[in-house]
Symmetry: none
């Protein structure tokens, strides 16, 4: 019998406060869908008072068909000297029309007096009234006790009074926050245990930051001591050093300590979901990141590789497949036969797991991975690669040549970008040219212009997303570039990928796959 804890993901709110991360509404919707797929209980979507875009997310999130998660809107207790009814923050929370609202309030006397400029008793009222106001409007309320542990160190009695105020207001969960991320697991464990035993009526949560590189340990210690609600961001994005990484917490607690955080059959989605979140955020997962990183199960020392061949437990704390990652003996990193056979069988149902065909596909994917390809989200490119490796791909067109230029003339502030491209379809050549906003846009227009002559169905195809990721940033502008392109024909959508040291070529490779896939499916 596992101990159940609920996972509350803040990627879309706290995660967006990380340096270099900013999400479009579309990005947020994609991440929310992925978080629901893996089975988290709560998705904190944003702060509707601080951002119009977040309000728009809440509007559009209503049409997401979520199976596991509920969406939560984040804000704060009402301002000092304002009634709840007149508080713009609380009004925005209600306008977001989510089932759950999370509000943070102050537990540290330093913050109450120096930051809010409120009296200690006034702060208690602000907490209680804000919670009970939202409860009165039918919301489930998560109360975040900001700086709870720092507050507890400074004035234990007052910190406890703040969470009692939230409990009086009717809070459904009270999350104790290590906002500055400086506490230790022995401290968190003993404080949570004391609070839990003195206040058994309160459902406790934990919200840890990673400033001491202790967030995962702190979160686990809190769970061991009685917290049943765990906040964090899936891949550890967040202000400063980040929030706790939920991927690590879920794997640690569920694989090793008998907890149930997400449905058992979803654990194998951990690494893939993390990669998707990072891709959408245009960030990367550091290769040494526990459980989900590319090197997490990579063996380099010869002695280790040798021992691994005798027993896989030799140098692995868990089997990598358990979290959807894979073992690498520092060759290349695509998942094995089991992962790929289902994709092959969608195209060729009779191919067997241990056949030469499967080996050929795996070999090709490994080669491409080594070049910097990543197939996590590029479903259509994988389909085409499998077809080619199986020898069932029918070439429908060839790009014979192209010329892309960008120029700026003296005394002219405008930049012109254009492309000339020549394609061959069944022995017939077609030359087309187009200008665009930059060379990639022009390339896309010119390529479809040339091919539409032969394939009118391409008229319905348009690109909906375009992402560029520089691989190995250290070699700077000479580094390889990975381009991800998302296309739609109005009915379905698909993603393709291209990698090259030249961004124009990488884009062309992804665009060619995108069109090829449409023609295959037509």
């Amino acid at each position: 019998m596992g101990k159940n804890v609920e996972i509350y993901d803040c990627t879309l709110r706290d995660g967006a406060q990380a340096e270099g991360i900013s999400f479009s509404v579309q990005d947020k919707l994609r991440i929310a869908q992925a978080l629901d797929d893996i089975g988290v209980a709560f998705i904190e979507g944003g702060n509707p008072c601080a951002s119009q875009a977040d309000m728009e997310f809440f509007r559009r999130a209503k049409s997401l068909k979520l199976k596991n998660a509920v969406v939560s809107a984040f804000g704060s207790t009402r301002r000092k000297g304002v009634s709840c009814e007149d508080d713009v923050g609380l009004a925005a929370l209600l306008a977001a029309e989510t089932r759950v609202c999370s509000i943070f309030g102050k537990s540290w006397d330093l913050h109450v007096e120096n930051v809010l400029g409120a009296s200690l008793s006034e702060n208690l009222l602000m907490i209680e009234r804000s919670v009970s106001y939202l409860k009165g409007q039918g919301r489930t309320v998560v109360y975040d006790a900001e700086h709870f542990f720092d507050g507890y160190f400074a004035d234990e009695d007052y910190a406890i009074q703040t969470i009692r105020a939230a409990a009086r207001g009717g809070a459904d969960v009270i999350a104790l926050c290590d906002t500055n991320g400086g506490a230790f697991p022995d401290q968190i464990g003993s404080i949570v245990a004391r609070v839990a035993s003195a206040h058994p009526d309160i459902k406790l949560g934990i919200h840890a930051h990673n400033d001491g590189e202790l967030a995962v340990a702190n979160t686990c210690a809190a769970a061991f001591a009685g917290c049943v609600h765990i906040q964090g961001t899936f891949t550890g994005f967040g202000e400063r050093c980040g929030n706790v990484s939920l991927a690590s917490v879920i794997a640690n607690l569920q694989l090793k300590r008998g907890y149930i955080c997400i449905p058992e059959d979803k654990l194998c989605l951990l690494a893939g979901t993390a990669r998707l979140v990072a891709d959408v955020a245009n960030d990367s997962i550091h290769s040494r990141t526990p459980y989900i990183g590319r090197s997490a199960f990579a063996h380099k020392a010869g002695m280790h590789i040798d021992a691994m061949s005798k027993s896989s437990r030799s140098y692995e704390h868990i089997p990598p497949e358990a979290v959807g990652n894979s073992r690498r003996k520092l060759t290349s990193g695509f998942a094995g036969r089991s992962a790929i056979i289902s994709l092959i069988n969608r195209i060729a149902p009779d191919v067997l797991r241990d056949s030469d065909d499967t080996s050929r596909v795996l070999k090709k994917l490994k080669e491409l991975s080594a070049e910097g390809y990543e197939f996590e989200s590029a479903d259509a490119s994988i389909d085409i690669i499998i077809r080619k490796a199986l020898g069932v791909h029918i070439p429908r067109f060839t790009v014979l040549s192209f010329k892309a230029f960008t120029e700026k003339y003296p005394k002219d502030s405008r930049i012109t970008a254009g492309v000339m491209i020549k394609v061959d379809v069944g022995g017939k050549e077609e030359l087309a040219a187009a200008e665009g906003e930059g060379p990639v846009h022009a390339l896309d227009k010119a390529l479809r212009k040339a091919l539409k002559v032969f394939y009118p169905c391409l008229s319905s195809v348009r690109l909906t997303d375009f992402k560029v990721r520089v691989l190995d940033g250290e070699s700077a502008t000479a580094a390889a570039v990975r381009v991800l392109v998302e296309s739609t024909d109005g009915k379905s959508s698909w993603t393709t990928v291209g990698v090259s040291r030249d961004i124009i070529e990488a884009s062309l490779l992804a665009l060619v796959d995108a069109i090829d896939y449409k023609l295959i499916m037509s």
Copy 2:
């Protein structure tokens, strides 16, 4: 009175087992010097039996003038069925002529039987004899009990017998290893406490890996329970998910728990030393890395920045200067006067917070933000924008025209990218051309080629990072693109930004700022 622990750095040995890391002898010497400067007690230099280069390092390390650290050579217990005198590994250790030798041996029955193929009693003899042999040769011996905790879980009694064997052999320190990195701090803490109280004659150490993202917590728990010797790698490099990061351990224990790990006046070298180690390793420190990362003390949320101006303890667990890092207030279009005035005053100390000058700068930053600029990390671009808005920017060059092309000819699989660019410096024109790996690389080369004619100091400038972010991916290839460029002249580094619908133009804008900033600072 602080509790003293000794720091044993394995960057040059275990760190070199990280994916993507390899050190030359020269690299190792530089890192060893830096580790000595910051005051670690031991530097593990490598495995003289496995690598000729490591043997060369030990030879050359003798001429390093180390003030704090001693160098240690790493190897293993003698092989099964070979006498110590005839064992090539032990011979190599002695040939390294270091004062300290570290050898690992097996504590986990699974490894003894399945990997070594030895009997349990034979393994005990191998441990005891190898240690006593090295002791007999006058060496200080650190014995690494590999997989000690996994061994303890599997067969507590046998695991204890292995360390007793090392103690009988005369080991000066016995380091308990969580080799697979899967243990929890509550487990490590209670096992170390039991071992320490049952075996008070043994000087205990800890060697933790980070596979559960718990290495820092595990190492601290071991120290609290009685380990006085701490192994790790300075920045966390290592096999799979890495070894414990000594930077985090040192900062946690010394700043917060009353331990003395390195001399008190060296703590402020932590971030700089970490950066040097990463630079030499040609790796980068992830920006969110606790204590030493670029974002570790970076504040983005407006609410946080506002609170920080009232009390710096608001959102910081320690003052960043304590570890040689610095606070950064990320500037976004929404940041107010308080965030921007300190930047203005670095250029023009007399400008006031509420002056027209400040308003003009803010207005310009808001306009640029609306276009998609993001300044949080682009320190150099912000500097230039402020100078321009204040009217104190001196134009040093103008790009008059350029032409960038990428082409692929029929029947030719190669792609060619080239750029022709014309600049004006004080009325003199210069035309230059360059080819590159893609148009941006060519643009960078051509621009600096043209400008070096006038400004030879640009020879030292090179790009170290290049990032592309597609803004509003929904309009796909016609979307605006933000390019971030990080440059260095070998002494300092700076970041610039450019935004345009054309990726070539966005890159050009960032490159122009990068060069302009170097010229301003020269």
